[in-house]
Subunit: 604 residues, 2 copies
């Protein structure tokens, strides 16, 4: 099943060349692996995706998960999927061997999930969230919690979730009101409601382990009073039986897309018998949860890139098969006697394809860049290096979440456009991908929230050190590109944009230093679009550098056209996307205060 | 029902002030009308929309039209709607009195349909297409066709459709293969298939009148051999009975949105007994159909603007009611002891609202501008004036179709974003509007087709005369704005963009004069985005001029804030949107040939 939804050659080129996974595999932690074993793992994931995931994506949309008799019912194929995912170790792929994991680099974990999500984005969340929540228990939980929950989660006998959002609070986690009342035992009594709980329940795991943010009685207000609890659906009794824990599934949210992936409403402690076990120390819940949220943000961006990949390949297939219209002759006329040409021969269709390719592959490269920093931070022995990679990861995380989300909307929309009227019809896939991907800009903090994080926290942290570090990384890419005449014009553009970024930040910062944070952050989302475009431009130049390098070698692994396509797509990105940054910079540096100093009544 | 889906005050301000409908009402053709009677008509439409349309939009999505036993079944509420629409004369609103019409200006027709489509975009197509097809018969049909069909269509006893698209041809109308074989009678025998036929059939009209493009036996190939036929579902017999005409409904396309509005597949002449009556002369079908298509293109843009309006008001309502988060203090912190603030108080939410407002109202203004040209062309007595307004209308038509379609996607997406996770759920409306509006960029010629029309035909026609005429209109707006200090900075930007437009066109034209039409048109869609933004910028400056004028008068009709909001939104558009044109111009003037001189295999 070649290029039905993902291009494995591109994925491997990004992994092995652009992001130099070999270097990572030399680390002590990953010494069990080499390129061959990674290849085998990735190929197994592809086979699993081809056979168990991709064939069911349309059906999962047509037969959504639903709520019945207090339980969520998901598509029957999940029985098979969850069994196999448990066997393949997909939950614990990055955990230590001693915790029952595969101890793979995170970058490889993301590569595997990217393939699965491109095949069927309704699926991998069921084990991805279990992976994240078990990891939280491993990182911060007591021995009791680890021993009781993690082994069952590792093989997907039990599923895991994260329960943050409440109806009255939305993104505002400081307003969490779920209560945890201490008892004389080792547990608390939990009472409250959580909504939008992905993979919150289904018929194919016999228990669920919810990681719940709640407020211990009399805790300080705001985020400083939020703690983290393990709250199982059924609690293990002393006799090792499972007892109902009064964590009630109250319903399922009906959604526009990603309908196979359930989104539940859970009521805890309705009859005051819901027990929760504290993870780590009291009132530190949000900082623990942020470990999982940061992982989840990159995972969400990855899912966006994966959906866009699937849409791209479905539209590419159509463009290669559908005849329509004719090429123009030198008088600007069409000869209706000629046979119709394939639509891929029309420049506007090629433009729509290149735009998708640029977004899909650029986004994936950014996901690998970020996860590489994660792996390097984890495996580095130098404190300074650890800090460097941590800062770079922190800076890139909101962008890696948002760029694929926002640009993925445009990319899947382009896929629809290639199919014309058919693109809007249920007989073809682009309309589903277009619906599915729309959630990505909302999951794990909306684009607005990510943008506040980027401009409000990440740009300013440690006096801008993260930006300086990133600038150095970008400069390395610029210098490498300058070695190739063909790339110089583009490296100049990137350099110019780096300067423009500094100018924009310098223009905005005085608002913050004057204490006008509202004004400083008013256009944070525009800053995200601006900076995100430049970061992807950097990724594309990096990709082009590596393509150029391989093209100049004698022992090329693949045909020239593959590498030339990377350079060509880089040029496309610079010609059609990088041109937008100056306009965005102008908006960012405006003095108008149009959204800050204006009465709400202006809309009424 | 104030501002649940449309703002009538804005609509009337645009009609009465910005587009000076009074001036039009002084024409002989419209002498039966004055502002008071127009007000009464618009208010009646609003009441009809409030009571019969808006309450059913969600249900029509949940219970789509479907195919059963050879017929399309649509929502039961249509019985009531179609009866009332027939009574109100909504089919013939712009026809001559002598043809049974209301002889209203087209601009008022568009205003009325805009309100109805904002209330429920699944509905007005059922009578809008009947209006368009009956108008074609009135314009080009024989007395027999007029007398036989039009009266029944006027009161919606019978419905009308346009049948262009065929499965193998899509947008390429020169490849129509439906055959018309002459007989010894006054009719032809029709044989062929048509797809994507909007409002092609349903249970509430007892006959349908299809206007079908077909090729008379032995006609020349290409568009020069395409004729237009009236092909009824049931043909009136000599005894005035309706006889089955072998025009078979073969199915319904299941769509991502606009599910209440049926999209059918019709098979003509399966058993060689489908009769069609020629409209006008043979082989001129496409030129006749273009009358209807040009109207339909403006109507489609109008529908896009209307859907975006509905989404805007649904998100505005939410923003005004939903508390979440807090304002930042001067240390950039939130005080979690405070009550949560309404989300409309967050600048990023205001930005999303202004963006929607700018797109919705700017688009509506452009629809009125175009339809005003139509009315002026029709009522002018000078040949020169007629040509002027015709050229201006021709130039603006593809933009009036495309800007609301493409920007409407972004606008409705912004509405989802304001609701956060709820925006993705079926309990709230934005997700439906987001799905509904996606068809607008595909109907009546995709964005790619409209863009080829704009750059390939409209910009170059009569040696660029249309662009010159538009430049003069824009200059009038610039000069008027220069009278107000507050607007000068923006009129300078518009002037600069007019210069940039000329520069872009001058840079592109040499490709065409060298015979490289493929290159000339390669980025036509980017040109559409570029020029469309400038045209909407012109509309906003025009709106601001009129707001400013009223604000300076003593006897203002409404509170200042209403007019100030128009000026503020103009500033928003210039600060956040007009800044994009330079980047787009740079793309347009690139020398890279990235989508023309490249092998298709680059994607594989």
């Amino acid at each position: 099943m070649k290029n039905e939804y993902v291009d494995i050659d591109t994925l491997k080129f990004l992994l092995y060349h652009v992001h130099d996974i070999d270097n990572l595999l030399e680390k002590e932690r990953f010494k069990e692996y080499d390129k061959t074993s990674i290849d085998i793992f990735i190929d197994a994931i592809k086979t699993f995706s081809d056979t168990a995931l991709f064939p069911f994506i349309k059906e999962m949309d047509e037969k959504p998960s639903y709520f019945k008799d207090g339980q969520i019912i998901i598509h029957p194929q999940f029985k098979n999927i969850i069994e196999k995912a448990g066997e393949m170790g997909l939950v614990g792929s990055i955990y230590d061997f001693e915790d029952g994991g595969l101890q793979l680099p995170t970058t490889i974990f993301h590569a595997a999930y990217y393939i699965m999500e491109a095949a069927n984005n309704h699926v991998p969340g069921y084990f991805g969230l279990t992976a994240g929540s078990a990891n939280l228990i491993l990182s911060f939980g007591s021995e009791y919690l680890k021993n009781t929950y993690v082994p069952k989660m590792l093989d997907l006998t039990w599923g895991g979730t994260m329960c943050l959002t409440e109806p009255q609070a939305g993104s505002s986690l400081s307003d969490v009101t779920t209560m945890a009342t201490p008892t004389n035992e080792d547990y608390y009594l939990i009472k409250g409601q959580k909504i939008f709980i992905s993979s919150g329940d289904h018929q194919f795991c016999n228990n669920f382990v919810h990681l719940v943010l709640a407020r211990i009685k009399d805790a300080p207000s705001g985020i400083k009073g939020v703690s983290l609890f393990v709250v199982p659906k059924k609690r293990p009794s002393n006799e090792n039986e499972l007892v109902n824990n009064n964590a009630i599934i109250a319903g399922e949210f009906e959604k526009m897309g990603q309908k196979g992936y359930c989104t539940t409403h859970i009521v805890f402690g309705d009859n005051n018998d819901c027990r929760g076990w504290l993870v780590g120390e009291p009132n530190k819940g949000l900082s623990y949860m942020f470990q999982m949220m940061n992982e989840a943000r990159i995972a969400t961006g990855r899912m966006g890139a994966a959906i866009a990949s699937a849409a791209y390949y479905s539209s590419l297939k159509y463009a290669n098969e559908r005849p329509q219209g004719r090429k123009l002759n030198s008088s600007g006329q069409k000869n209706s006697e000629e046979e119709q040409t394939l639509i891929i021969n029309h420049p506007d269709i090629k433009r729509l394809l290149f735009n998708q390719k640029a977004i899909v592959e650029g986004s994936l490269s950014l996901i690998f860049e970020a996860s590489n920093y994660f792996d390097k931070e984890m495996t580095s022995s130098s404190k300074e290096e650890k800090e460097k990679y941590n800062l770079l990861l922190e800076l890139l995380t909101p962008i890696a979440k948002t760029y694929p989300a926002e640009q993925g909307i445009k990319s899947t929309s382009d896929a629809i456009q290639i199919l014309g009227g058919y693109g809007f019809c249920f007989d073809f896939m682009p309309q589903q991908y277009y619906r599915d991907i729309r959630i990505i800009a909302l999951y794990e903090g909306t684009t607005g929230i990510q943008s506040l994080d980027l401009l409000g926290r990440k740009i300013t942290m440690k006096n801008g050190k993260a930006v300086d570090l990133l600038a150095k990384e970008i400069m390395k890419t610029v210098q490498e590109a300058n070695l190739h005449n063909e790339l110089k014009a583009y490296s100049n553009i990137l350099l110019e944009n780096l300067g423009l970024t500094k100018k924009v930040i310098q223009t905005l910062l005085p608002h913050a230093s004057k204490g006008d944070f509202e004004r400083y952050l008013a256009d944070a989302t525009i800053f995200m679009e601006f900076f995100g475009t430049i970061v992807i431009g950097w990724q594309w130049l990096k990709i082009a550098n590596h393509a150029k390098k391989i093209l100049s070698e004698d022992n090329k692994e693949q045909a020239n056209l593959f590498y030339e396509s990377k350079i060509h797509t880089m040029k496309f990105f610079y010609t059609y996307e990088m041109v937008k940054t100056k306009g965005l910079a102008k908006t960012l540096m405006n003095n108008e205060n149009l959204t800050t100093k204006v009465a709400n009544a202006i809309f009424n």
